[in-house]
């Protein structure tokens, strides 16, 4: 009985820690995916500029208000344009960007197939 009580206390401590960490994780994940506009090449999470600090405050405030990750992104996209997102959305401007790796993979595969496997079959 004594042990049971002890373990339940430990269990609850861990659970609260985990939920705390999860909340922080989301905030970090969002700020890592935002470009700091005045310190190019750094994410908002990494930067300590006035702008980045404001964005961090904004993100944590919006999360408290119950905004989802996507809603925060679209809010900031509306204010600053798509450039602020590190992960650009899939639309007509970014088709090329998203599909190029797949295309290259297929093409490379085709070349390899043609050069090696196709040749081998002919030999047999």
């Amino acid at each position: 009985m004594k042990y049971l009580r002890f373990f339940t206390i430990i269990f609850f401590i861990f659970v609260s820690q985990i939920s705390n960490a999860l909340e922080n994780n989301l905030e970090i994940k969002i700020t890592k995916n935002l470009r700091c506009l005045i310190c190019q090449g750094q994410s908002v999470h990494d930067s300590d500029s006035e702008f980045a600090n404001s964005i961090k405050t904004l993100v944590s405030q919006k999360l408290d208000e119950g905004f989802t990750e996507k809603e925060i992104y679209s809010f900031l996209k509306d204010k600053y344009g798509e450039w602020i997102l590190y992960n650009p959305e899939f639309n007509k401007n970014t088709y090329f960007l998203w599909l190029l790796p797949i295309l290259m993979f297929l093409l490379g595969g085709a070349i390899i197939y043609k050069l090696f496997i196709f040749k081998k079959k002919k030999l047999y």
């Binding site: 964005i55 405050t57 600053y80």
Partner: protein, 172 residues
């Protein structure tokens, strides 16, 4: 015939990528916000500079009147430089200049205004920079010309003679 097409495709691909990346070299990768389209003004609540009275942004801006929003701070050097242009614009009859004090110490801000005179008809506080985000601003100073609750001109960085002339022309 089939095997000869491979080097052809590869070299074609190489050339296309070369052209794409070569052109990309010349593109600027510095953030430039889109300033060419009219945008509705954001709505937010803010606080007067020297009192604790809170106010909604809908009450600040009336229709059929020109407003110049200026985001400034006492610690920002370019703000000091553009101050004389704000004083100049203050003489225009149909333009009201509204200041947003960005992440500032109130004492310093008051000293700044005592020293350089106050061109603002109203000043509001933006302690944590959240209102600047609502405006889509990312630094100080930034100015927005507003008419009929729409942003018709955005100036990033300090004002200069060209911008002042353009603003004067727009509000006529």
């Amino acid at each position: 015939m089939k095997i000869k097409s491979v080097p052809l495709i590869v070299s074609l691909l190489f050339i296309t990528f070369f052209i794409i990346f070569f052109k990309g070299l010349k593109n600027s990768n510095i953030y430039v916000p889109n300033i060419n389209y009219e945008k509705e003004i954001p709505s937010f609540t803010t606080q007067f500079f020297d009192t604790n009275i809170k106010i909604n942004s809908d009450e600040i801006f009336k229709e059929d009147y020109y407003y110049l929003i200026n985001i400034w701070s006492s610690w920002c050097l370019p703000c000091r430089e553009e101050h004389r242009f704000l004083m100049e614009l203050n003489n225009e009859n149909n333009l009201k200049i509204i200041g947003f004090n960005y992440k500032d110490n109130i004492k310093d801000a008051k000293k700044f205004l005592d020293e350089l005179k106050n061109p603002y008809s109203k000043i509001f506080l933006d302690k944590d920079g959240l209102i600047a985000i609502e405006w889509g601003a990312y630094g100080v100073p930034e100015s927005f010309l507003i008419y009929n609750k729409k942003i018709i001109k955005k100036v990033i960085g300090p004002l200069n003679t060209n911008f002042v002339d353009e603003i004067k022309r727009l509000i006529k």
